[in-house]
Subunit: 229 residues, 2 copies
Amino acid sequence: MNIQAHIDPSQEPSATQRAYLAIRRMILVGELPPGEKLKIEKLRSILDMGGSPIREALTLLVSDQLVERLDQRGFRTAEISPENFAEILRLRCLLEETALRESLRNSDTVWEDRLVLSHHRMMREPRSNVERFEELHKAFHMNLLSASKSPVLLRFCNQLYDLNIRYRYLAGKALNYSKRDIGKEHTDIMNAAVDRDIETACRLLLDHYRTTGAFLEKHFSAELTARTV
Amino acid sequence: MNIQAHIDPSQEPSATQRAYLAIRRMILVGELPPGEKLKIEKLRSILDMGGSPIREALTLLVSDQLVERLDQRGFRTAEISPENFAEILRLRCLLEETALRESLRNSDTVWEDRLVLSHHRMMREPRSNVERFEELHKAFHMNLLSASKSPVLLRFCNQLYDLNIRYRYLAGKALNYSKRDIGKEHTDIMNAAVDRDIETACRLLLDHYRTTGAFLEKHFSAELTARTV
DNA sequence: TATCGAAATAATATCGATATTTTTGACGGA
DNA sequence: TCCGTCAAAAATATCGATATTATTTCGATA
């Protein structure tokens, strides 16, 4: 989410902004599958606007690594691969741990309030409302890091989070997380964070990511072998 | 450098490509100072093209964090600050070390040849040709990492490198690096890399960055206090 | 039947014009 | 003098049309 958030929410967002959010959503949830050619004309008719804001939105998405730009040959959604997924997981662990440590060192009560609140909201949201839940889930995780005073780092974490969420959507409901209690995992992470127990918080967070990652990886490789047959 | 490189170099680059490279260069070398408003009309007349490729190039530069986009209020070059500089240095150390370790683990003779060659070219280039030297200097450092199989990580390193180079240009010739022998530092790093001595290579690389960082930081804070008076 | 190349088609990239929005600056009231 | 307001000016954002470039189709040739 590179785009500057609106200060004044009453104001109508620009066409570019609308296009950016709409296309981004479509890619994340898988409505636009990986590797798909993104034709300006088609997007124009879907989003009902001129070509300029579409192109600009796509260019913004290039920075999020959700879209690839081929000079003179238009745009396509980023490809996926097990290697890419594994790299994202690795990088997330590296960067989020760094950010979490820094965040906890700088943490104050404002941060704590924000964290507790976002946790509460996430827990209350029914998992059935997938997109809404994912939004709150992301907010919770980003709030963990939010007391870090490293904007560039946070931007990377944010970006990696979105890249990862895409894989989660693509795996779809096939994933039922068997015996895990995701709610408890989150609560434990939050408690460790609120206690400012840096080591425990980091350990729990990374476990959380790695366990989910292992699930997804398994699912993903099954998918791929099924597909290539 | 997000933009897809041309496969066929005989081909004329698109206007967007030209604009991207031109504006990027102007920002990096400081011709467009930090915080400067980037007026489409002005850039249009400088680069002699329509508004669309300019806007698209600026949007691409947003992803490089060299340009900020303010919805409905145009573009401006990214601000600089001591905090930003320090963060870039920290992140570079973290990410480049990770990338270097991976690169050395995966290294082969192709990588080694590329590295040696880029080192040679850099050493031969007179420091007086600043822009050309910086290009070769970047190539050398990126080649150190280039055997890493983590494209996202490499992209981050590349981006951070450019953000850092900008500070070097801004500090300008004021910097004469006193008693350091930069050439030797590079050669030592290369030798450790060629020896696949991961620990030494990492240590030397980070020292190299941190020493330069300390120089710049000193220069930079002097600049700022002078300016704010 | 496979391959090459040229024409036809489709898509992208770019321009110039226009609609919106933000910024500026002058004016008058407190 | 200090604000707030409103119109004028400037700049951005967007559109529709066109030029450019890539892709496909289709036949001719080997």
